[in-house]
């Protein structure tokens, strides 16, 4: 394995460790606000994974939408409802042990599946500008869902307004 390979592996493990640690923090931290911040960290980690997978555009989208919009929205919501959660004795509900059992089994199952399936490895070097192709695909092949999603966003907007208005 050449140096670049070793370095990229190291980088990968670092990013993976950070992402999972942040993810763990997101679900375990008692303070919801801190959990929200950890969520932002996870999003960054995932964006970095996209970069390693050479999906630069998606990494940018991840940062813009997930961190710029969704995470901020969540943090706002936390602050709006914050006063309540201060004197909670626990942030984890009564069924957590069951949930833990389920996810452990699920993870083992997924892991076995991942190892067992003969995944296709036809990947070739990319190193080219993917965005024009992506744009073309979105406006030709995927035109229909693209347009539908625009209507969907409008509906969600109206819905959020109706439900959350004073």
């Amino acid at each position: 394995m050449d140096v670049i390979g070793i370095i990229s592996q190291l980088v990968f493990f670092l990013i993976a460790a950070l992402t999972l640690a942040a993810g763990l923090a997101t679900v375990l931290l008692r303070n919801v606000f801190h959990a929200g911040l950890a969520l932002v960290g996870t999003f960054f980690g995932v964006a970095a994974l996209y970069l390693m997978l050479e999906a630069e555009f998606l990494a940018v989208v991840q940062i813009l939408i997930y961190i710029g919009a969704i995470a901020v929205l969540i943090l706002f919501a936390i602050m709006l409802t914050r006063s309540l959660m201060k004197n909670e004795d626990s942030n984890i509900n009564k069924q957590w042990a069951w949930v833990a059992t389920v996810i452990v089994i699920l993870f083992v199952g997924l892991f076995i599946l991942i190892l067992q399936v003969p995944w296709q490895h036809s990947g070739t070097a990319v190193y080219t500008d993917l965005v024009p192709h992506l744009g073309t695909a979105l406006l030709t092949t995927y035109l229909l869902p693209f347009e539908i999603v625009s209507v969907l966003l409008l509906a969600a907007l109206i819905g959020a307004f109706i439900i959350a208005r004073e």
Partner: protein, 108 residues
């Protein structure tokens, strides 16, 4: 890079993140924390999609369906978050709680 990091690594990270997210969604009391768990699950799915695109697609440039799918997932996650947070705020206004366990007027 593609030669040095096997696909399975990405898939494992994704599986782990998915399970963490599921834990958050099922075990957190705060409705907003539940939402955060769901977002983690969606991110895990996206890692899967992008990794499969990068490794598995015979024509990663011409056929970017994995990326497109991920884009749609992100967009819908945003829409979902908007509606979900609106619901959380509505509930908070009407009953002063965002604890999922206390939202149980409807049962049996």
């Amino acid at each position: 890079m593609i030669t040095t990091i096997p696909l399975v690594y990405y898939l494992t990270i994704s599986a782990a993140l998915f399970c963490l997210g599921l834990f958050g969604a099922l075990a957190r009391r705060n409705a907003i924390a539940v939402l955060m768990g769901i977002e983690l699950m969606l991110n895990a799915v996206n890692i899967n999609l992008v990794a499969f695109w990068r490794y598995g697609s015979p024509d990663p440039i011409g056929d970017q369906s994995g990326i497109v799918f991920a884009l749609f997932v992100i967009t819908l996650a945003a829409a979902e978050a908007a509606v979900g947070l609106a619901l959380v705020i509505a509930i908070y206004r009407s009953r002063d709680t965002v604890n999922v366990e206390e939202i149980d007027l409807l049962k049996w």
